[in-house]
Symmetry: C2
Subunit: 452 residues, 2 copies
């Protein structure tokens, strides 16, 4: 293997995990990263006083085994997401509190609760039947892929509040609206991340743990290991490939030659590189059908996490925006208090076009609506609009629009000659999450090694 | 205006019509075309003996006023699509014939006919209510945009054959499946092209007329007029834009500077150019949500159009592929006989990956199924897979996936500084057709002139 040369495009978790595996097998690896930092959709930030903020993906939870292993291997530590007390729930104009244990239910009328229960049961049962490696073989896949998840919700829930609950949860999980993607994708995605309830939970769910120092530490440690194999600020613009090798041209920089390339960009961006010869139509049309979600991650920094003293977790869920979902994102010490909010999907599109000042006012207004007027005494406001990021163009990940899983699913991970594809969107397990990114990167490394 | 310099990207009908209008107003125009030919999604071809074949868009019909005017201005002529006799219809395993007059109905059971009639009536009534300039203001737009057209069909037709009829017509009109785009888009598109029945008709419909010598003549004549303003083989790869002007870099070629640029590429391809500064997120995310359809246009050439003598129009519609729709595409003289077929949507994806020989056999098999064994005595087979075209990447046009019209519709034609957008996907009228391309190009020219 000592002769094998591989270029990995993208120094997000997927690209770095891939490069590490390749190097361990003896390959000569070069990682090309367009940004002047590593981490991709994970990103470090900090408050004015230097406390770490996590501007991108950040949580770990049960069954994300590769991430927990990786965190330990890299000498990092996790700590539990703050989850003591009650959540705030605002649905249909009514505010209530609910327990923070998984399985707790909001205070809703018995009719709504019964509806929600049967809707979640149906969803969970259908999701479990989606084979993760072959979602297009799920029972009723054709019909489920030809309808939106919104239509599924309308068909399977009877009460308006029950439907709203599903829609709010959908936006929180996908950064997209239920009308934007297929019902089959919703079912696949939930099963890929174990189950729907887990995806929206802190307690034994996808938001259970955080990484001390910030999630970007994982990418930073991986990049340290790889040393000068990682080239920052190299925007790949052209990919020549043939039976003998690949040549990747960078904007205003050198051309990198190798035996094979692993492209770990989000599908839309992977589709935008200039390929010579052009990609086959099946691959090109696939990348036309995987748009990214829209999310602005917003933070308010306080002297302390004041909501804790009032018995609140800092978590809110609401059907009224612009911030519909919040979390306590303070560092392990609890100081400063960091309130995290998400502006998602349609709200993100609307609010991305306002001024930062207008957004800050609206965000703080939401925090005050959930946690009282002390939310107005923030000392700092920080935000990251992921749709504006040239080298990501939307978060958390891509969603499969109706028709895509059944028509293009079998082609999702298929290499084109010496070009291999990775990234969280390629993962059968924990698709859309950091776990999926790492798994996909490592899988692509094995694929490259097996082909060489 | 004599100082205004404009670069138009793309020498399809939209770009050429735009450039012509700009030049008439006194602007200095440069057209950059990636291919070594003009015409974009119209393309000339010929049989071995030199009879013209039309490899791309080709038909004209009532209310396409700009195209008929343009054809006349350019000294070209139209002739009626051959439509004498009966059509062949195969649905649910049964073959029948039907008249070729608009409004004729296939021989189906009274239950199916009643269902089809009520379904078409509902569709037509809803389509008429979609405002072409603002589809997102249609009655019930939110719900219609959050469901696929497939769901609409299931909700509004009761019989399986009625639903199949809608699906076959959908594939013929959109080169996509009813599950691929929103119900609102289906309604908008039909209204944009007058009405659904017109879109699928030759008699007083969108396939009424053809252009003598082939539709590509329109682009060729426009390009002749523009002379050396049209630069072929110039692949635009970078677009720098600021408050003072635009600079377009071409692959291995010169940089073209101008005051403004009009980009007439299909939305996906427009989204793939390298912009500096990057496009705003609303524009970028829009181009992530407009995938192109899939179609392979296939031709068999015969000594004569043998079906005519048997009282057949040469038109067939079937629910069994790979070719589900055919037309008599012979030249005005009737010699040679040219049978045209479309392999669309899912069939196109499947068959694009087979060998040309396998496709030819399957296509001729379909023609024989519709028109008898004489179809097997073809002397030539010609095909064009539009998804494989590097500078188109799918035909006939883009479809709006669910959620796109309501979330991004108001931004469809909005310029970004000195960058303007054109192409048939931008047109309110005859969106997706040659007529829409020309209208959009001319509209963009007026927009540029008004901004300067």
């Amino acid at each position: 293997m000592s002769d094998l040369r591989v270029v990995v495009v993208g120094a997000g978790l997927s690209g770095l995990a891939c490069a590490r595996e390749l190097r361990r097998a003896g390959a000569e690896v070069t990682v090309l990263e367009a940004r002047t930092r590593v981490g991709g959709r994970t990103e470090g930030g900090s408050t004015a006083e230097g406390a770490p903020l996590e501007l991108g993906g950040q949580w770990l939870g049960p069954t994300q085994t590769r991430m927990y292993e990786l965190v330990a291997e890299l000498g990092l530590e996790t700590f539990p997401t703050y989850n003591i007390g009650q959540h705030v729930v605002q649905l249909g104009g009514r505010t209530s509190r609910m327990g923070s244990r998984r399985g707790a239910v909001p205070k809703l009328s018995p009719f709504v609760l019964a509806d929600l229960f049967q809707g979640l049961t149906r969803f969970t049962r259908a999701a479990r039947q989606v084979p993760l490696d072959e979602p297009w073989r799920a029972p009723g896949a054709d019909r489920l892929d030809r309808e939106t998840f919104e239509t599924w919700i309308r068909r399977n829930l009877r009460t308006e509040v029950g439907r709203t609950y599903f829609r709010v949860a959908t936006e929180a999980v996908f950064a997209a609206e239920a009308g934007d993607f297929s019902a089959l994708h919703a079912l696949f995605y939930a099963h890929s991340g174990t189950d729907f309830e887990g995806l929206i939970s802190v307690d034994r769910g996808a938001q259970q743990d955080r990484i001390v120092g910030g999630s970007v530490r994982v990418a930073e440690r991986l990049a340290e290991e790889l040393g000068d194999a990682v080239h920052l600020g190299q925007v790949v613009v052209g990919v020549e490939h043939d039976g003998h090798g690949v040549r990747l041209a960078t904007r205003g920089g050198p051309v990198h030659s190798a035996d094979r390339a692993v492209i770990t960009l989000p599908p839309v961006l992977a589709g935008r590189l200039g390929y010579t010869p052009p990609l086959p139509s099946w691959r090109d049309q696939l990348t036309q059908r995987l748009p990214a979600g829209a999310v602005i991650k917003v933070f308010a920094v306080y002297d302390e996490p004041f909501w804790r003293a009032e018995g609140l977790t800092g978590q809110a869920a609401s059907d009224e925006g612009p911030v519909k979902i919040t979390f306590d994102n303070s560092p392990p010490s609890g100081t400063p208090g960091v309130m995290l909010g998400f502006i998602e999907a349609g709200e993100a599109r609307t609010w991305a076009r306002r001024s930062p000042k207008e957004r800050e006012e609206a965000v703080i207004g939401c925090f005050a609506r959930y946690f009282g007027s002390r939310a107005r005494s923030h000392r700092e406001y920080v935000e990251r609009d992921w749709t504006a990021e040239e080298f990501t163009r939307g978060c958390y990940g891509a969603h499969f629009v109706p028709g895509t899983w059944t028509a293009f699913g079998p082609l999702l991970r298929r290499p084109v000659g010496r070009l291999h594809w990775a990234g969280t969107e390629c993962s059968a397990v924990w698709n859309g999450y950091m776990e999926g990114a790492v798994r996909s990167g490592e899988e692509a490394a094995r694929e490259v090694l097996a082909s060489s």
